[in-house]
């Protein structure tokens, strides 16, 4: 599934001040790409990520997901699009505290009304994939930061999305856990051709991405294949 945005701007009010988070950016991400959005804090990379994932609406400009325009979609249609095609992974994990590991991963499938037996199989297979099958019945608060992020990844993966968008997924993890998460994501990208878009500062993620998009002050200032940087 591809994503394309054209001339996207995003403004929001911060008190009395109007902040121009994005200043007319255009970008196309193809199926199976691994893209890193990089830039300093406040540069607009998270805002771009939210718009790419149909989580936020641009102030102006167009967004297409698989060549379907999404800017005019209703909240309900956007929710359905996210539910069925897009997975989100957040810096602070954002797990549902009242649910177990199993419950958190199962939740998106419940929203999709997946039959119980299939849910069970997919949840356990996904937890197996992230190495947490033996923690299925644990409360998320009993897990380490790395394990919680793996639960978040499992939750994003369980619906078999075409795109996974991730905002600083390793920022709250130590280097070892961070590396494990990146390894896992890269494996998914390579084996299942899941499109990955990361907003990150993490050099270890940047070094593995296939394309790097530099954002500064709400504009794309540089867009280069990783091979150029690595070369």
């Amino acid at each position: 599934m591809s994503i394309r945005i054209a001339s996207v701007t995003k403004q929001y009010q911060l008190g009395m001040t109007t902040v121009n988070a994005l200043r007319g950016i255009s970008l196309k991400i193809e199926q199976g790409e691994f893209v890193a959005l990089v830039g300093p804090s406040g540069s607009g990379k998270s805002t771009a990520l939210h718009i790419l994932g149909a989580l936020d609406r641009p102030t102006s400009g167009e967004v297409w997901i698989q060549e379907t325009p999404v800017t005019q979609m209703s909240d309900k249609q956007l929710a359905r699009l996210r539910r069925e095609h897009i997975g989100f992974i957040f810096q602070s994990f954002h797990l549902i505290p009242v649910l177990s590991v199993y419950g958190n991963v199962e939740f998106p499938l419940l929203l999709m009304k997946t039959p119980k037996q299939e849910r069970r199989e997919r949840v356990m297979a996904t937890l197996e994939c992230v190495g947490l099958a033996d923690r299925a019945q644990h409360k998320t608060e009993e897990l380490s930061g790395g394990q919680r992020q793996r639960v978040a990844i499992a939750r994003a993966l369980v619906t078999r999305p075409s795109i996974i968008l991730s905002d600083e997924p390793t920022a709250n993890l130590d280097s070892q856990n961070g590396k494990g998460i990146i390894d896992l994501m890269q494996k998914l990208n390579e084996e299942q051709r899941v499109t990955l878009v990361f907003a990150t500062h993490d050099a270890s993620i940047v070094s593995r991405a296939k394309r790097i998009v530099h954002i500064l002050d709400g504009a794309i200032v540089e867009e280069v294949p990783a091979s150029v940087l690595q070369g």
Partner: protein
């Protein structure tokens, strides 16, 4: 799914849930118990002041008695009194029945005279049907077998200036139109609230029948039922049977016999309903406040749910469900506590208060299921209404704003 999450969310913030629940439980208990107390008080008022003292659970009288008794009190009597009473006593739900004969005339102490509107009563039957009638005795005693004994209403005795032990002359017009005179000995004086003590005179039924030349006639048959709560049903059954038997009678139950019964009942119900509404508005504001706080605290969680594909109406449903769960749980706990409390108090003799004339008012709380239904219904409706606005607010959250706020 939503039910489980809603329940877990309530459980997660135990203290807030506990205090919200306590408010609802308190409200439900107060409403149901107030309803039970008022119903108990209403029953006490109806039973103690009227049903066990003067009216019985229902009465049977000639169908023209109400309309024509003023002009023709003697002509609108039941002619086959003993047989009719015996047949009424065999009817379903009837514990006892007895007859009274209305007797009007002039009573005098020799120097002062006044009109009276009294009763000839079957003393044995009266004791069975109106066990509280003796409580109206303010001086002396009730009638015994002596045919010349009379009991006067307090005000009538005062007007005549007679006391227990004095003799009075009684003049009546007989059924045949003649005038008759008897001398009676005052053995007791009666009064009570809603008791016609300014005109009341009581003598034995057999003496009254003989005095008026009306053997075996009664004006009314008063009935005591086995189960008070089914009295209206028993009265309807009796009316149907008497109609089938071709008797020219009507049956009036205690709700028709007691003055202002419906009005007083309505006032009690209005009080309970008003208390319910006030309490539940307060409870509703409490639930709404708790839900708004919960949504404020869980904005990131809502943002996450929206991000992973939950639709806005589903977040609304989740918070509505939480509100309804709180309301229902509180209603059920409150119902159990209130019913338990009412039964426990009733089982231990009820609530006792000092009444007028050194009387003791004993209130046995009785669950009023209409007020209980109102309390349960209101707690359900209020919890939905009170959760609606917070739930709607949750559905309007921008997921990005919710996720990114500090």
């Amino acid at each position: 799914m939503f039910l489980n999450i809603a329940f877990q969310n309530l459980w997660r913030n135990k203290r807030r849930t506990l205090f919200t629940e306590l408010a609802i439980v308190f409200g439900v208990v107060v409403v149901i118990f107030t309803g039970a107390f008022l119903k108990g008080m209403f029953r006490f008022w109806a039973q103690d002041v009227f049903i066990s003292a003067t009216t019985g659970a229902f009465q049977i009288e000639h169908q023209k008695y109400r309309a024509e008794s003023t002009l023709d009190p003697l002509g609108t009597t039941l002619t086959n009194g003993a047989e009719l009473i015996a047949s009424v006593e065999r009817m379903p739900g009837v514990q006892a029945a007895y007859g009274e004969l209305r007797i009007v005339g002039i009573v005098s102490n020799g120097s002062r005279s006044d009109v009276f509107d009294g009763r000839g009563v079957d003393r044995d039957g009266q004791g069975r049907v109106l066990p509280g009638s003796d409580d109206l005795i303010r001086a002396g005693r009730s009638l015994r077998d002596d045919p010349n004994e009379v009991v006067l209403g307090q005000l009538l005795a005062d007007k005549l200036g007679v006391a227990v032990g004095d003799q009075v002359a009684i003049v009546v017009r007989t059924l045949q139109g003649g005038i008759d005179l008897m001398y009676g000995k005052v053995v007791g004086v009666k009064s009570g609230s809603h008791f016609p003590s300014a005109t009341y005179l009581e003598m034995n039924l057999s003496r009254a029948q003989k005095f008026l030349r009306m053997p075996n006639r009664v004006s009314q048959i008063l009935v005591k039922t086995r189960e008070f709560d089914r009295s209206v049903e028993y009265a309807e059954t009796a009316a149907a049977k008497l109609k089938d038997a071709g008797q020219p009678v009507i049956v009036r139950n205690y709700t028709e016999l007691i003055p202002m019964y419906v009005t007083v009942g309505s006032v009690f119900k209005l009080i309970a309903t008003t208390i319910s509404l006030i309490l539940f508005v307060i409870i509703g504001l409490g639930i709404a406040n708790a839900m708004f706080v919960a949504i404020r605290e869980r904005r990131k969680e809502i943002g996450t749910l929206l991000a992973i594909g939950m639709e806005p109406f589903q977040t609304r449903r989740l918070f509505l469900l939480e509100g309804v769960l709180i309301g229902l749980l509180g209603a059920v706990i409150g119902l159990v506590l209130a019913v338990g409390l009412a039964h426990a108090i009733s089982a231990h003799g009820g609530l006792r208060f000092d009444g007028p004339d050194s009387a003791i008012i004993t209130v046995l709380p009785r669950i009023d299921w209409s007020i209980t239904g109102l309390a349960l219904g209101l707690s359900f409706v209020i919890s939905i209404v009170a959760s609606w606005f917070p739930a709607a607010a949750s559905a309007k959250l921008n997921p990005v704003e919710a996720l990114t706020e500090a």
